[in-house]
């Protein structure tokens, strides 16, 4: 009996587990290679112009197709064109939090130093996209709903997302020592990531309970394909811009750390020669 592989799991399950283990190992190795800041900077520096160019092309084309070369919505008229900035911004706000949580998990599990840097650089960018989603949602809501703000499930969830971003950013700066703030914020980001689905479920449910009857749904049953093209162009452009900004801010943060280290070393040397 004791020869049975891994307490009675089938061969496929075993194969899956070994497979998963190898993959984790491969991923860990890849992550480890990226952990060296100098190597990371060498890899991303040539990527940055291409990402920036891609973002510019996508956003430019998205603006053209969104504002000029697409039909107005049959129900909402030209106001629906706000969708091309609102929806991609909201997607990026959410994806940003996912990235923040992912980077935090990597930082916590593998003690990956660059993941901490990535997480702290993602947060303000994600918060900016959240603010854009809220502002454009409000500007879209006024002609559609007749008021600047409605406690609709989605808008409410985005507000809560903004609170999570702000909490993260406040906590990370609340400590005297930078590393402590980063570790605390990492834990907070993961708590938020675990809780976010629960919050979303509660808010959706809360909304069905209190749903005012006259709300116009933002998503029609089907979107004209002519509207999908600018939507995806803008979404791609915003995502590329997000990546660009993360790279730029990580370069800044890594440079700052190097400056700090050099200054510390400069202070330490004369003391050592005195002693």
């Amino acid at each position: 009996m004791q020869a049975a592989p891994l307490c009675g799991l089938s061969a496929t399950e075993n194969a899956f587990i070994t497979h998963a283990a190898t993959w984790t190992e491969v991923m860990a190795k890849a992550l480890h290679r990226l952990a060296n800041p100098a190597r990371f900077l060498r890899i991303v520096a040539p990527l940055l112009p291409w990402t920036a160019a891609g973002a510019a092309v996508c956003i430019g084309a998205g603006l053209w197709f969104g504002l000029v070369d697409s039909p107005p919505d049959y129900q909402q008229g030209d106001a629906a064109r706000i969708m091309y900035v609102h929806v991609p911004a909201a997607w990026n706000a959410l994806a940003g939090y996912a990235g923040l949580a992912l980077a935090s998990a990597v930082a916590l599990v593998w003690r990956h130093p660059l993941a901490l840097v990535a997480a702290r650089c993602i947060a303000p960018i994600g918060a900016c996209f959240t603010v854009i989603a809220l502002a454009t949602g409000s500007l879209w809501g006024h002609p559609m709903w007749g008021t600047w703000w409605v406690w609709d499930a989605r808008l409410t969830s985005v507000v809560i997302l903004l609170f999570l971003y702000l909490g993260y950013m406040t906590l990370i700066h609340a400590f005297d020592e930078q590393g402590t703030g980063e570790r605390a914020a990492t834990v907070l980001a993961l708590i938020g990531a675990v809780n976010l689905p629960v919050i979303k479920f509660s808010v959706d449910w809360w909304n069905t309970l209190h749903q005012p009857a006259s709300i116009l749904r933002m998503d029609g049953p089907s979107i004209d394909p002519a509207m999908l093209l600018p939507l995806f162009l803008m979404a791609g452009g915003f995502t590329l811009l997000f990546v660009c900004l993360v790279i730029i801010r990580m370069q800044t943060e890594l440079a700052r750390r190097r400056v700090m280290a050099l200054r510390r070393a400069a202070l330490a040397v004369p003391q050592a020669s005195d002693a």
Partner: protein, 59 residues
């Protein structure tokens, strides 16, 4: 230019549409600008710190 004014009017929703795009552009533009300037100034101080670093002087 009737076409241009019709384009700007956005079927009566011009104010909303253009403000939404303006807000987006403003926030993203400021974010990009701030990020780039922060990187520039940090790279300048990095250069300074590297020049002043004792290791560099010893070499």
């Amino acid at each position: 230019m009737p076409e241009l004014s019709a384009f700007l009017a956005m079927g009566g929703y011009g104010l909303y549409v253009w403000s939404a795009y303006a807000v987006t552009g403003l926030v993203l533009g400021l974010l990009v600008l701030a990020s780039l300037r922060a990187r520039q100034s940090m790279r300048a101080s990095l250069e300074e710190a590297e020049l002043a670093s004792p290791r560099r002087r010893a070499r």
